[in-house]
Symmetry: C2
Subunit: 411 residues, 2 copies
């Protein structure tokens, strides 16, 4: 992509009404734009990050047998009445169609849709287990949307739901889902910072689990057991002050941001929809369910909170909008830079090329630091036949050959 | 994908309350599920088609310089008041946040969001032209949703908006967009059936344009000029009974379904948002806009209307959910079929493998015809070392070698 053609521009000043680092940096760099409180447009650079995170999550959900669907945003009231959540869930956007007088809800989660959907297809034990997931916008009528992308009124989620013949089968799948989640957080670059966190479990299991990324600016407090490398959340610590795995009493409070949660639903949703299956003997049995969420736009915000410095963002390679930020500092290196841009594109290396001739070298370098693409590449008279390369996450500048650059980029 | 693992199942009977062929076949084959009138879930097979159509459109929009974004579904009332459309557009889903008391609209189109968004970034003639697009759910409070996927209350759209320094530049880009649209309809398999259709143009141009696919079950009448291979719509024929290109008076009425529309907006939206740019002399000039829509879920419905027979759907290869439907008819060919399935997957050929052992050969062949994957492949004792292959669109059955199969699939 030619930066001269990109319709967004960077800004030196922080946007008004934003306090969270993720919102400030993502807005300044032209990744997102706020339409209203808790509601953002994803601009080209931001949407590329969203697509890359989504693809990692999609691959890992497929790997645990998840089948991708796309359920509607509009839900009929009757589904939410059937589970008694029409009045009890307080963040529903509710409204009535002017023409059909149907009462509608904007989906904040999809148990009310996925349960009757799967009921149409799952009849016998032979049809179990099954897992379905979607990547889709969710809506919450929040009193106070805050923390930039970390608590939105409209936000992108991956939500998966699993269906089982027994509690034992749910338990087994739940452990697989945990491993898939660990892989996802590792792949997006948050593996080291993110801990499995015990939370309260509702009717059907003692605990549910959150994935919490330890970061100074997180809005939660979690209590870390360093022996087990797990944590417990506020609710749990109020109830028991020991590690649920090893009994350790020395739990340390740290700031963290939630990036995912998994929950054993048991028969909470299958019962109101009378969703049962026929076992081998032909008798009807309850379906057991689990649900598994990751806030994708939220995760993008948390990555920025975790990886930035005073100059800007520092994207992990796996989810960066581009791999290389090629910068043409001045006229003397324009031809050389143009040729390298063509060669990188031909080799399918994703490159943002700063070809703007009306900006000073200082402005271009500052923009590169703000945008945070992993590798900054510069050609100049000084570099001769070689290439100056600098990792955003390091301060060293290296001179390497074009061939070495391609090898480094996996070509 | 193993068909035994697919959570959906086919149905021999048509769904209740559906009259359109697309809704009947897509529901029977397990591509979509109706949640309520005009609101559908895309199931795994259907979502694969949606993703393939979306990717074709994305590539062609990128090719004409479109930059992908994702704008919110939730719009604030004030943007729609600024263009005087809060009261004049009758299909808006309107509601109020319980907590913040903000009046909101679910976006049926995005001029009210994209115009003030681009105003933040386009300052001078140097920043023009620009085009942005998104692929996103749209909402219309329709009195009567009908025709299955062809008129929904919630549906997937690609909408692009272009921004220009002059009417001449808009005109030039508009012609490029026409070529991109032709390429898209050709690539999704509707090239021959789809005609550029003159429609009424609003304030800023004599005509806008629709793309209409000629199909018996279409809900529109268009009037075809066979000399120019274009058409005019009902509004235009009421006004003038001649071809706008060649003056031909012999315009033939045919049934058609709209699959896209493009429109010169002129300064209709830039004026209320006071969106201007500085020209070379430093004086402020109006921005000229165009908009370019394709209903993606609707297009999927139209493809089914155009390509089906009494047995089921017939997907064009470019947008089929899988390229090959491998069918294991009985136990004797299970091992051979399993091996071929592995080989196809290893070569990244997309294959749905009917490995269900509790279905009769007749049921499996009927399901394959209903689902409509382009190539049906069968191994049996009778085929020896060869492979039986049948195109869904043809009646011939051929015996070919495994090597020939891989060549046919482009490997």
């Amino acid at each position: 992509m030619l930066q001269s053609q990109l319709f967004t521009r960077t800004s030196k000043t922080a946007p008004k009404e934003e306090e969270a680092i993720n919102a400030i940096l993502l807005t300044r760099a032209g990744f997102v734009d706020k339409l209203m409180s808790g509601v953002y447009t994803f601009l080209p650079l931001g949407l590329r990050v969203i697509h890359r995170i989504s693809q990692i999550i999609r691959e890992e959900m497929n790997a645990v047998g998840g089948q991708e669907v796309s359920m509607p945003v509009l839900h009929p009231k009757k589904n939410w009445e059937q589970t008694d959540r029409w009045n009890s869930v307080d963040i529903l956007f509710k409204f009535t169609s002017y023409y059909t007088k149907t009462d509608l809800v904007l989906g904040p989660t999809h148990e009310e849709v996925v349960t009757p959907l799967l009921k149409k297809f799952i009849l016998s034990y032979k049809d179990l287990p099954r897992a379905v997931f979607q990547i889709q916008n969710k809506f919450r009528d929040e009193l106070r949307a805050k923390s930039g992308l970390m608590r939105g009124r409209e936000f992108l989620m991956k939500d998966m739901y699993s269906f089982h013949a027994s509690e034992a089968d749910l338990d087994e799948y739940y452990e697989k889902a945990k491993i898939a989640y660990e892989t996802i957080f590792k792949r997006v670059g948050l593996g080291k910072q993110t801990v499995l966190t015990y939370a309260s479990g509702g009717t059907f299991s003692k605990y549910s689990h959150e994935y919490q990324t330890i970061v100074e600016t997180g809005e939660d407090n979690v209590f870390l057991c360093q022996k087990c490398n797990i944590a417990v959340n506020k609710e749990i610590i109020a109830d028991q002050s020991t590690c649920p795995q090893c009994g350790n009493k020395d739990l340390k409070p740290v700031k963290a941001a939630e990036v995912g949660n998994i929950f054993k639903l048991g028969t909470k949703f299958s019962k109101p929809f009378e969703f049962q299956y026929k076992d081998q003997s032909g008798s009807l049995q309850d379906i057991w369910m689990g649900c598994y969420g990751i806030g994708i736009s939220r995760l993008m915000g948390v990555v920025v909170e975790a990886f930035h410095d005073d100059k800007g963002m520092i994207w992990p390679e796996s989810i960066a909008p581009y791999q290389i930020h090629l910068i043409c500092l001045d006229d003397t290196s324009k031809t050389k830079s143009d040729i390298l841009y063509q060669e990188l594109q031909k080799n399918q290396i994703e490159v943002l090329y700063d070809d703007r001739m009306d900006k000073t070298p200082g402005e271009k370098l500052a923009d590169a630091d703000l945008i945070g693409i992993p590798y900054r590449v510069i050609l100049s008279e000084r570099t001769g036949d070689n290439i100056e390369i600098k990792k955003r996450s390091e301060s060293d500048i290296k001179l390497i050959s074009k061939k070495e650059l391609f090898v480094q980029m996996g070509k």
